[in-house]
């Protein structure tokens, strides 16, 4: 990267010195605000969480009492049934939703890249769900899936299938949340994969056409391998977001019925806020953040491995 000073030095030494002073001051004032936000509001709460995780905090009369408990909060974690359900459900949710989104997104991206007209229109429609607040998506689907008047049950009624309480039945609740997530986030995969497809070199496809490759061969032997870096990056992004899922679950099911749709973010919310177990909730957050950092390292190394550069 570029370094300062020597490059294109002004004519006189005095001007050069003033410019260098300017630059040095500017270097700090330009980085300062972001650094300050990151340290004060990004990093400080994490330290706060870490410290809090070794205490039990109780409130009475607006005052908090902090009792040090060592590692007791951490020791409780493995036997927490809510956390166990949260981990299982988040894993099922993240993998099945993200894999479906990738497949559907790729299919739609391929189709849109091949049509001669209407690309912009379809792209605009497909982007829409990304822009809607997650909580509103929860509200929309809560109504759509409603037992008594939801559109889904109305449509099923047309073909003679009885109404089903999609969100209230523990057997279909998680599935419903997954379907809503697919509706919400397939557009994101579509958009990134379309950008990837559009940046593929044209001549390779012409060459394969001349060799008489079929469409399926072309997809398998050329498009997919060339797209691998884009596919992996999109996958990593989506998995990270899927592990954070909170808003939709909050409205659709509130983690229920029972623990059928309990996800990790929601478990943290319940322990921390609803039950006011600040120390224990902090310990849970710390562990989740630690696991996420591990995932990040894995994702970064997979990207390095997949990018030919």
């Amino acid at each position: 990267m570029t370094t300062l000073g020597a490059v294109g030095a002004p004519t006189t030494p005095a001007r050069a010195k003033r410019a260098a002073d300017d630059d040095r001051l500017w270097r700090w004032t330009s980085f300062g605000p972001a650094l300050l936000l990151t340290l004060a509001i990004g990093t400080l709460p994490l330290l706060n969480l870490f410290v809090t995780s070794f205490f039990t905090v109780s409130w009475s009369g607006g005052r908090s009492t902090w009792t040090p408990v060592g590692l007791a909060n951490y020791a409780q974690l493995p036997s927490d049934p809510l956390l166990q359900a949260g981990i299982t459900n988040t894993t099922i949710f993240a993998f099945s939703a993200v894999v479906s989104q990738m497949v559907l997104g790729f299919l739609l991206a391929l189709l849109v890249s091949r049509i001669p007209r209407g690309q912009i229109l379809f792209r605009a429609i497909f982007i829409l769900p990304i822009l809607i607040p997650g909580i509103v998506i929860g509200a929309i689907w809560q109504l759509l899936l409603n037992l008594d008047f939801g559109l889904v049950n109305q449509l099923l009624g047309l073909v003679g299938l009885g109404p089903h309480d999609w969100l209230g039945d523990p057997r279909t609740a998680l599935l419903s949340v997954i379907v809503v997530d697919i509706w919400h986030w397939t557009p994101f995969c579509f958009l990134l994969l379309l950008a990837g497809i559009e940046s593929l070199p044209e001549d390779v496809f012409e060459a394969s056409k001349m060799d008489g490759a079929s469409a399926l061969q072309e997809l398998w032997n050329i498009t997919l391998p060339l797209m691998l870096p884009t596919i992996l990056v999109t996958l990593a992004f989506r998995l990270v977001l899927a592990f954070k899922v909170f808003d939709e679950v909050f409205l659709l099911t509130g983690g229920g019925p029972g623990t059928a749709t309990e996800v990790i973010s929601f478990t943290i919310y319940q322990r921390f806020f609803s039950e006011d177990r600040v120390g224990y909730g902090s310990a849970m957050s710390v562990v989740v953040i630690f696991v996420i950092s591990l995932l990040l390292v894995l994702a970064l190394s997979s990207r390095r491995w997949a990018t030919p550069r």
Binding site: T2, A19, I130
Partner: protein, 276 residues
């Protein structure tokens, strides 16, 4: 890509039309729900006579805080975006071109990436305690700072990509003319990166507008944002479904407007951020 055979093309268009319908029908249904009476919604009437009562109730009734929530969301969206995008753009330029040692840059960007992955709900509790310590609990200022910080990693990453594309020759030419420090940045660099800036701004605003978990825990009745208000709606003992539909419809207006006027920037922001 290759021109497809006619049947394949029809099948392709058919699939896309079905997919577009799956995306649009829920949105249209909820907007239509805002124009229905509760009875019409419960009966599942296909044809109905549209009424404005729900919107009137949500926007004008003294029992409803929705206009206040809308105003709060706007203030938080605009202020946090302004703060976040300015800090991020300056930092991106600084880290990319002002000779910070590589470990500073990598440490900051790596930290930003990790921070992006942390569930905001895990931070909300600590934020609440901190806000209380400095007297910012339940204020819009507290939420503005939280949203600016939540969006900062994405904004810095995006702006780094755009800043990297600023031609070196131009910067050096300006240096020879005697521009340095802030003057160089504001008069030469900023005009070049305006399109990237627009993309980042649109995304930051959308993400702030949509953000729920921090807003839920850092606000009270007076400072609640639109998503918090809608969540409260849905948790009422007796849900006013049609009013909930009307508020949901109103809450996606900014997204629709941005999609109409700024699709290009949204696409550029999302794809550049992830793929470069």
């Amino acid at each position: 890509m290759s021109p497809a055979a006619p049947t394949a093309r029809i099948a392709g268009y058919g699939t896309l039309v079905v997919a577009a319908a799956i995306v649009l029908v829920p949105v249209v249904w909820i907007i239509a729900g805002g124009f229905r009476t509760q009875i019409s919604l419960l009966m599942g009437e296909v044809l109905f006579r549209p009424i404005l009562a729900n919107f009137r109730e949500v926007l004008l009734s003294s029992a409803s805080d929705f206009l206040l929530n809308y105003r709060n969301s706007m203030i938080v969206g605009v202020a946090s975006t302004a703060l976040c995008v300015s800090a991020a753009t300056l930092a991106a330029w600084s880290l990319e071109r002002l000779g910070w040692s590589p470990w500073v840059k990598h440490l900051f960007l790596g930290w930003a990436l990790l921070f992006q992955m942390i569930p905001p709900i895990a931070l909300a509790g600590a934020w609440f305690t901190m806000a209380r310590t400095v007297g910012l609990e339940n204020t819009l200022t507290g939420l503005v700072l939280a949203h600016a910080t939540l969006n900062l990693p994405m904004a810095v990453w995006l702006m780094t990509v755009f800043v990297r594309d600023v031609p070196n020759e131009l910067v050096e030419a300006a240096r020879i003319d005697g521009a340095s420090g802030s003057k160089l940045f504001f008069s030469i660099v900023l005009p070049i990166i305006t399109p990237g800036l627009a993309a980042t701004t649109v995304l930051c605003f959308v993400f702030s507008w949509n953000e729920f978990s921090a807003a839920l825990n850092l606000t009270n009745k007076a400072s609640a944002t639109v998503p918090v208000a809608i969540a409260k709606f849905a948790q009422d003992y007796e849900i006013q479904y049609t009013q909930m539909a009307a508020s949901a419809a109103l809450s996606i207006v900014p997204a629709l407007v941005l999609l109409l006027i700024g699709q290009r920037y949204i696409v550029r922001g999302l794809t550049n951020g992830a793929l470069k």
